[in-house]
Assembly symmetry: D2
Homo-oligomer: 144 residues x 4
């Protein structure tokens, strides 16, 4: 038997797939799931013309939205419905039309009621475009 | 003649109108300009079905995007091109399908190179849904 | 009888007084309680020479600490022990030796498990030196 | 001769040593310089009884202050006087009396006018107590 994901990670992937399939705005963003594990999530999306701002660069809200989506998926991989309380976004470099951006969410802390995540958005050259930090409240409600 | 906006405020409105007219994602959001003055900007938009997340509530990224747009307009009303450095979003209550949301950006600090804004997002009942704080870097480039 | 504070506000004042009296670092800061109500707290302190940084201005950490203290008092005025999850500090103007600073904490949101506060630090001239935003988790433990 | 630090790193260490030696509040905190390189700084300090809060844990302001100091040193290692614009602190675990805390500041972005840092505070067991993110404005003034 080849190396395989552990059962909690398979469950995490099922949750992420289900949430993203029911997420109209996530679909508008064209988010594609990459690696998903418990407490971890990767997304990719391509910068389209309708995602630009008044200066011709990627709208900061679109970059934030992709990060917020990866944050939401990562904090829900534990199976308990979690909601974002607060998030911080740092803009380092502008995204450009046609860029393929990688969004990576990593769990920094998991407690009974609260979890914290750091995210990085990089482009196809590996340049760091933005950092995001999110804090989530974990309800008792099971997702699946 | 009746009371009228001062010349700097008229200039501020011209800048905001121009930036928003050239902002593809701002148009997707359906943002409508309300009151605009130097250092101040109001926007309104209606929550559509394609703005929801996987739990059936307004996607946090859409709320952030509307705030980020009002922040961008407010910090550019001085006429010098300004770019967001960092922003913080606090989610207090979920937005719902059909809500008409008011986004209000208020300047808290204006210095030679940096300006800071506080924003509030409220729904049609006056309920505070989210708070946003943004810090901008002011370039030397004139917008108009 | 003259106008008097309501019973919950008297209780809030008792909590703030007690917490501050047992707070060694708050005492080092020389924090003096001003107005306290449920969800609201004012503190004052004077900038001493041992509060300065390597550039001769008020150390940002001291300003933050005074704000963090007012935040802690305000979120505990409801009687349930509350702990800070995350805080954001914006530095607008430097504090100077001898300044008497006013720190004011205002509740923006109170939910069953989480509360959010905005704070402002002003000097004796009314100049806004810093803004602070804090999010607290509310435990079930009663303070008094 | 054995491996030695490069000249810019030696310069960075001279700046950090000088700033800390003139920093009254940094001395009150008992901050000890560890590794310093261009864009990087480590500090250590011991939690004393006068650093505690009203609940008997390390006052959040003291933890923030140590991080703010490491942030200030790291952003000044390039030799241009830099000032903090905004900072975010996430509290994950409480510090305790007698803990020896390590504060590590890492540069995430350096641009002409603005730089961004991520910091972590860990205790003697390696447990992550807090995360900090700071954004600095870089003046033209040379420090040495």
């Amino acid at each position: 038997m080849l190396a395989s994901a552990s059962s909690p990670d398979v469950y995490a992937q099922a949750i992420a797939t289900r949430l993203l399939s029911r997420d109209p705005f996530g679909q508008w963003l064209g988010l594609e799931l990459g690696e998903v594990r418990v407490g971890y999530c990767q997304l990719r999306f391509r910068v389209r013309a309708d995602m630009l701002n008044g200066f011709g660069a990627l709208h900061g809200g679109v970059a934030f939205s992709a990060a917020d989506s990866a944050f939401a998926l990562a904090c829900n991989t534990h199976g308990r419905q979690s909601v974002g309380l607060t998030a911080t976004m740092d803009y380092l470099e502008a995204g450009r039309l046609g860029d393929v951006l990688l969004v990576e969410a990593r769990e920094e802390s998991l407690k009974e009621k609260v979890s914290v995540y750091q995210l990085r958005i990089t482009n196809q050259l590996g340049t760091l475009l933005a950092m995001f930090k999110g804090t989530a409240y974990r309800t008792r409600h099971e997702i699946l």
